[in-house]
């Protein structure tokens, strides 16, 4: 059941919600995808996982391979055409779908693809957007007895404009102490292809961010993107810092019974 939102459940129409797990979560962070499923089911949403899904095409687009991205975007719109909402635990991938798919579709020269993109792109939401805007909840009934600091990843913050939504959700988690991260809005230095092509600069940015994270004294660094957390986690473990990195979905999925 999905209360409110674009199309409320009626006798004729059951709102269909799909999970876009993202390629990085699929391959490396299955637990984040599992957390989204657990969380949404707890909130009464029977989320589907269309198995044809692959990737949002951002790696190709951001490296400059727009033509290579065309079949990936085509697969995306085909996969999710029949869903009212596509929910994804990644601000970056949601940002790519909403802001880059049209770029790729234009490049393809296929007006049909442009129309399909215009349909699916606005229905693709980052997790906190879906929870707050569609489900209308800020207290998801989670329990997480740790001190946490939140890094608002760039694409969540500036591409999607998720604003305070993740913070509102975290503030309502029982047992959780949220500590302010100074310079939170500055990029962590990941940037996809940037992390490899400009590794030195990427690392310099990551090291500065990691230092500020450690200075908060938090046990856990939380963010809505595992790509940024992979980069920051890589810096933190290399520095033997005690801070763990955890995706927002995993904290929101935790309950007293589950004892994360």
């Amino acid at each position: 059941m999905v209360p409110g939102g674009r199309a409320a459940n009626t006798k004729e129409h059951v709102v269909r919600v799909a999970l876009m797990v993202t390629c990085i979560n699929d391959a490396l962070y299955a637990r984040t995808g599992q957390a989204v499923v657990t969380l949404l089911r707890r909130l009464g949403v029977d989320v589907a996982f269309p198995e044809r899904q692959t990737c949002c095409a951002q790696p190709m687009v951001n490296t400059g391979y727009l033509t290579a991205a065309v079949p990936v975007v085509r697969n995306y719109v085909d996969t999710f055409a029949d869903y009212d909402y596509v929910v994804t635990p990644s601000g970056s991938c949601a940002g790519s779908v909403r802001h880059q798919h049209d770029l790729v579709a234009r490049r393809s020269g296929d007006p049909g693809l442009r129309r399909a993109v215009a349909e699916t792109s606005p229905r693709t939401l980052e997790l906190s957007e879906f929870l707050v805007d569609v489900l209308g909840v800020t207290d998801v009934g989670a329990y997480y007895p740790h001190t946490v600091t939140y890094h608002p990843t760039c694409h969540s913050l500036r591409m999607l404009g998720v604003g305070d939504r993740p913070r509102m959700l975290l503030e309502n988690v029982r047992g959780l102490t949220l500590l302010d991260l100074p310079g939170a809005e500055e990029c962590c230095g990941f940037g996809g292809t940037f992390a490899v092509k400009n590794a030195d600069t990427s690392i310099a940015m990551g090291v500065d961010k990691a230092r500020r994270v450690c200075d908060t004294g938090a046990e856990v660094l939380v963010a809505g993107d595992n790509s940024c957390l992979t980069h920051l986690g890589g810096v933190l473990t290399r520095q033997r810092a005690a801070v763990r990195t955890v995706h927002l979905a995993e904290i929101l999925a935790s309950t007293e019974e589950g004892r994360s």
Binding site: V21, T193, V235
Partner: protein, 494 residues
């Protein structure tokens, strides 16, 4: 005396060197941090001036609209500008490229038999290497902006649009003044300290004799108003006023994108520029002049309208918006990459995010590795777009420029990157192939952990660990447990 950017290495190489300079990083972090704070306070002040709290965004939209309107009617605007300049006693020249523009300036200087000119800080004359061209003709060009003076005396390169000597601290500046001022004019006093007020005082004395005797000045212009023929220079120190007022002859080199259609459309730009650049409500001095004013200021006024790649940029549907740039440098000051590498790494007088798009747009991609490396010198974090007073969507242009770099380089033997992208795209457009690939992801990570020197991964692993290898992909878990609905025989969730 000034260096040039010719032959600079690619961005990642230049950046590595800059990142090793602790003094530079300290200077940059201090300077950009200060200016960011000032700018944000003023934006809050503007927003507080109306109940809706959106006045700054409305100003940005107006500023962008004015420049966009100018660009989409640029042919007519330029003809109107020319007609109004001529009607008010100015001489108008047109220059296709740097060489033509430099030759025009040198010709005017020679016609007046001068061997020196004083210069207002101007990005465009640096872009065309005017000083070097004049020097080759035996004409000395004196930079009169304090930071430009520091750069010129130090035989150095500018590293910021607004504060070209941002990479120098006060002790370094004192040292440069003591060593070099005497070579070109009045020396610095021997008891010079590194107090900024004392250093500025030394520059005042050094330059004043040049201002008082100069017969010709060279400037750029921040704006050129088509419907009146008015040029506008925005500055702080008064060196601009000195150059625009005291000499007999004034030559202004103006990029064709500087056009503003009407006088009143200058208004939003004058409200946006100082707040975005220096974090002031208004800069100390703005001078406007329309051709020649009898009995006041230069009595011979030349304007050189310069293309030098601007028509190439204008033809780029996505990139054209970069020509809206009013050179405020807000994008530099908020850029986490610029803050760490400084401006020299970009190999151009236009550094930072705007430089990363403007240089490839002006010069074209596919024939210079340094230029082609610039669109990749960004994490696409979007802070630049948020700060830009004329709403240039720099991240989108960066992505588009990357695509153009890839396209321009296609045709030869495909690079490793291209092969990887093709293979990746093939896997990612078909879930079955992706599932197959994922079974090897864990193997790959385990391999990479054991062999940290693996080519391609060296950049990642030099200061970052790789994550723990997964035991199962999400899609495999979903299939095995029916999305978690089938009781998990192992009792494990990972």
């Amino acid at each position: 005396m000034t260096g040039t950017f010719v032959g600079m290495p690619k961005f990642p190489v230049a950046a590595r060197e800059a990142l090793g300079d602790a003094q530079l990083r300290h200077n940059l972090a201090h300077a950009t941090g200060t200016i960011r704070g000032k700018r944000l306070r003023l934006i809050d002040e503007v927003n507080a001036s109306t109940p809706e709290g959106t006045a700054w965004e409305e100003l940005r939209l107006a500023g962008a609209a004015v420049k966009e309107r100018a660009l989409l009617s640029l042919g007519d605007q330029l003809e109107q500008l020319e007609a109004n300049l001529v009607a008010n006693g100015a001489t108008v020249h047109w220059a296709r490229d740097a060489a033509e523009a430099n030759a025009i300036v040198a010709r005017v200087a020679k016609a007046h038999d001068v061997d020196e000119v004083v210069k207002v800080k101007s990005m465009v004359t640096q872009e065309i290497d005017l000083n070097e061209a004049l020097e080759a003709e035996g004409i000395a060009a004196w930079e009169t902006d304090l930071a430009e003076l520091i750069v010129q005396l130090g035989g150095d390169l500018p590293s910021h649009i607004l504060v070209p000597a941002i990479h120098r601290n006060r002790a370094e500046i004192r040292d440069i003044f003591l060593r070099r001022m005497g070579e070109t004019g009045r020396p610095a006093p021997a008891d010079l300290t590194d107090d900024p007020a004392i250093l500025a005082g030394a520059a005042r004395e050094h330059l004043r004799e040049k201002f008082l005797r100069a017969r010709m000045a060279v400037s750029g212009a921040n704006f050129a108003i088509a419907d009146t023929g008015t040029l506008v220079v925005v500055e702080s120190e008064g060196n601009g006023r000195m150059c625009l007022t005291l000499p007999d002859v004034l030559v202004s080199v103006v990029g064709i994108e500087k056009v503003v259609p009407t006088w009143t459309e200058l208004d939003p730009l004058l409200r946006l520029l100082p707040r975005s650049s220096t974090g002031e409500r208004m800069n100390p001095y703005t001078s406007t002049w329309t051709g020649v004013t009898p009995g006041d200021g230069p009595q011979e006024v030349h304007v050189v309208l310069l293309d030098n790649g601007r028509t190439r940029a204008l033809a780029d549907e996505t990139g054209r918006q970069a020509l809206r740039c009013i050179r405020c440098s807000a994008c530099l000051n908020v850029c986490p990459v610029y803050e760490r590498t400084g401006g020299h790494a970009y190999g151009s007088v236009y550094p930072g995010p705007i430089g990363a798009i403007l240089n490839p747009l002006l010069k074209g991609v596919g024939h210079d590795e340094q230029v082609d490396s610039l669109p990749y010198a960004s994490s696409l974090c979007g802070a630049c777009f948020e700060a830009c007073p004329v709403r240039i969507d720099i991240p989108s242009v960066l992505v588009d420029q990357r695509a153009q770099v890839v396209d321009a380089r296609r045709g030869g033997r495909p690079s490793g990157e291209e092969l990887a992208m093709r293979a990746g795209a093939a896997a990612l457009s078909d879930a079955r192939r992706l599932a197959l690939g994922e079974r090897f992801a864990g193997v790959g990570i385990r391999l990479a952990r054991r062999l940290p020197g693996l080519p391609g991964l060296r950049g990642w692993t030099s200061a970052r660990d790789l994550p723990d290898p997964p035991t199962e992909s999400f899609r495999a878990w979903w299939k095995r447990t029916d999305g978690g609905r089938r009781p998990d025989p192992t009792g494990e969730q990972r």
